[in-house]
Structure formats: C-alpha cells, structure tokens
C-alpha cells in the first residue's frame, strides 16, 4: 500500500463521509417521523389511513432501496416531479426506513400488556395521559434495540446512493479506482471510513440499549 496515495485521498473520503452522514441523518429523522405517525395511526386504528399505512409498509418493505431510488430519481421526473439527487436520497431513505420504523414502534406498543392500560384507567388517568405517561415510555424502551438495528441498516443502505450520482463513500471509491487504479488503497479507505461511521453507532447503541432496559419489570 502506498502511504502518499492514502494521505492524498483522505480529504476526498472525508467529504464523502460528511455527505453520507448529512443525507443519512436527515433520512433517518424523516423515517422516525413517518414511523411514529404511522405507528400511532395503526395503534389507534384510524379508518382509511390504517389501510394506506398498511399498503405503504408492504410496498416499501418488499422492494429494494435501489429500485425505489431509481423510481424516484429517474421515473418521477417523466411525470413532472423533479427533485435533486440529495432530496431524492433523503426521501428514499426516509420512505424505506419509515416502513421499518412503523413496524418496530408498533410491535413495541403491542407488547405492553393490556393490564397496564386498565390499571392506569382505574387510577383515574385519561386516555391521553395513559398513552403519554404509561404506554409510550415502556413501548419506546422496548423498541430501542429494533430502532438501533434500523438506524444501522439505514446507514448501511446509504451505500446505494452512488447509483444516483451522489458523491458518497461508495461513489468516491468507485471513481478513484476508475481513474487511478489504486484499488487496494481505495478499498482500504472505504472500509476504514465505513468503520468510522458505523462502529461508534454500534457501540453507543449497545450502551444505550443496556441503559434503557427498564421496561421489562419482573422478568
């Protein structure tokens, strides 16, 4: 491996990492919002909307992100919906992630035994108070491992952004290999930068998971 090449490539990879993170966190935030709203809709069994959420989940869970991105980026402009590559990345990631987040939040909400709701009613709490003070904290803490797995999954999925010509890590590596044929150095940096991005998430995630494990009282 050539040290000079490595050093000269680092700034390019750093920029790519920043772009990946920027789109990544916006997309993840977007997917959280979709997840919470969607889970609330299925939890409270809102008519019509519940069916729409169901169709949305099935559609986006059963197709690859690459195909979704191609559809948003190349197909939608043909019917007049034009968005930039970056917005497309955020939208695609958010929509894919949203479908997974809804499922995670929903299974968290479902896992709270009915006796919790009944007990808080009998203590005189209202429906909203019950949801906010009793159900939600427990549901979220149960969902945390699933949510973290989703976050890592989504950050990994950002690697397909290179196909819609966003200059992310994958794009940079492919571009540099194509131009200078320093394959080993490029692949090495690619792995290192993905580790820089995902290892902290994985480690901090494990710590948070341990810290938040207060819901399963009595197991």
């Amino acid at each position: 491996m050539d040290k000079e090449t490595l050093v000269s490539y680092i700034p390019l990879y750093r920029d790519a990492l920043l772009l990946t993170l920027k789109i990544g966190w916006q997309g993840i935030l977007f997917s959280f919002v979709i997840g919470l709203i969607g889970a609330a809709i299925t939890h409270f069994k809102v008519k019509v909307l519940k069916t729409i959420v169901g169709i949305y989940i099935e559609l986006f869970r059963n197709t690859p992100l690459l195909v979704q991105l191609f559809f948003i980026y190349f197909a939608l402009p043909k019917v007049g919906v034009k968005i930039t590559a970056e917005a497309c990345g955020v939208l695609g990631l958010g929509l894919l992630g949203g479908a997974y987040m809804i499922e995670t939040f929903r299974s968290g909400l479902e896992s709270i035994p009915i006796i919790q709701t009944e007990s808080s009613y009998s203590l005189g709490m209202s429906k909203l108070q019950t949801f906010w003070y009793i159900i939600l904290p427990q549901a979220v803490s149960i969902s945390v491992p699933g949510l973290l797995a989703n976050v890592i999954f989504l950050l990994k999925e950002t690697s397909v952004f290179s196909t819609i010509s966003l200059m992310d890590l994958m794009f940079t590596a492919k571009d540099l290999i194509g131009m200078y044929a320093k394959t080993i150095e490029c692949l090495f940096l690619l792995v290192v930068f993905y580790l820089i991005m995902l290892l902290p998430v994985s480690i901090i995630g494990a710590l948070i998971e341990r810290r938040l494990r207060y819901a399963g009282f009595g197991d």
Binding site: E58, L59, R61, N62, T63, P64, L66, V67, Q68, F70, F71, F74, A75, L76, P77, K78, V79, I152, K156, E157, T158, S159, V160, S162, T163, M170, A173, K174, I177, T183, I184, L187, L190, V191, Y194, L195, L198, L199, S202
Partner: protein
C-alpha cells in the same frame, strides 16, 4: 393523455428480457440462501457452545457483517481479490460468495436465537425422562427450533432477493441493468420509457417478495 412509456415493454422481446434479468437475481439469491442456511446452522450451533475463542471469533464475524454494507463487501471481493491474489472471479461467483458470507451470519444469529429461546425446562425434562444428550437435541430441541426457524429463514429469502439488486454495480446484467438498456435503446422513440419501465420493475420486485413475506408471516403466526 400523458405518455407513461409502458408500451416500450411490449416491443420485441423486451418484457421477456426483463423477466430473464429478474431470474438472474432470483437464481443468485436462491443459491446463496441454500448455502447460507446450511452453513448458518453450523455457525448457530457453534455459537451456543461455551468456547471462549470460538465465541470471540464469531462475534467479530457477526459484527463485520452487521456493520459493512453489502456493496462494500461486493467491491472487496470482486475488485480486491483480483488485485491482491490475481484471482479472476466472475461477477456471479463473487456475488454468491458475498451473499453467503452475509447470509451465513444472519442465519447463524437466527439459529442461535431460536436455540436460546427454548426454555431450560425442556432440556431438564428430557434428561429426567432418561434421554441422553443426542436424543434430547434430536427429538425435543430440534423440532421446536425448526418451527421457529422456518418463517425466519423464509424471510431471509426476501431480504436476499432485495439485496441482489446491488449486483448491478459489479456488472451482472440483472433486471435493473436490462431496464436501463431498454430505456437507453428507446430514448428517441419513447422518451418517457423510464417511468413505465421502472414502475414495472418496482412491481416485479414487489410481486416476487410480497408472497414470500406473507408466507413467512403466516407461518410465524401459526407456529410460534
């Protein structure tokens, strides 16, 4: 009326080519799933053993798979091995290697999870009835693990199929590549082809994965 460009698909053998492209993805994923399930069972059983060295090694393996995007692994195997070892792997072979590497870890984790989820009482009761270790595993534990595993491994198939869309990046001509070719070839006659073709690809993927994931859900509700 707005031209959606779906007519392109009915010209010549275009639709057939698209389906052939889809079959390439499905073929790669089926081969990888079968190998992953077999290897995954071994890895899963190894993980339940209390060997510290084995435990650490498998932990590292799982963490690598969990953190590295499959696309990076594909690049390493396809471009890296050629460079470092002078191996000339075909794109299909590298795709299968990568998906097996990934699938084995996923499957191994599922197997470990389902063996761990069997309560200790089952083991103790079997021993109390005078069964030996092999009998206990064969007659009591494995049928229960199997029931839990079937829906999960069916689910792995859909994830495998979805991930194989990435092989386009290392030059395998699968459904997305074919659709790009069709769109390029008809750019002049049908400028809106991108919409029709990508919409159809979207639906094709959905039609393949949706029944499989329904089956997995159904079995999970019935058996677990």
């Amino acid at each position: 009326m707005l031209d959606l460009g779906i007519d392109v698909l009915f010209k010549g053998t275009n639709f057939l080519r698209l389906l052939q492209g889809l079959w390439v993805s499905i073929e790669i994923s089926l081969i990888s799933v079968v190998i992953s399930i077999l290897l995954g069972m071994i890895v899963g059983v190894l993980m339940t053993m209390n060997n510290p060295i084995l435990h650490v090694a498998l932990k590292v393996y799982l963490e690598i798979v969990r953190i590295m995007p499959q696309m990076v692994l594909l690049f390493i195997v396809y471009f890296g091995t050629t460079r470092v070892f002078g191996l000339d792997l075909s794109a299909e072979a590298s795709a299968i290697i990568v998906f097996c590497f990934w699938g084995t870890a996923e499957m191994g984790d599922l197997v470990r999870g389902s063996i761990k989820s069997i309560s200790k009482v089952q083991f103790e009761s079997a021993y109390a009835l005078g069964m030996d270790k092999v009998q206990t595993y064969w007659y009591v534990i494995s049928p229960q693990t199997f029931r839990r595993l079937v829906p999960l491994s069916i689910n792995l198939i859909t994830r495998m199929i979805k991930t194989t869309s990435l092989v386009m990046m290392i030059g395998i001509v699968e459904v997305l590549k074919v659709s790009q070719q069709i769109i390029e070839a008809n750019r002049k006659i049908s400028p809106n082809a991108a919409f029709g073709v990508f919409a159809v690809v979207f639906l094709l993927y959905f039609m393949v994965c949706w029944p499989i994931s329904r089956l997995s859900n159904y079995l999970e509700k019935r058996w677990v």
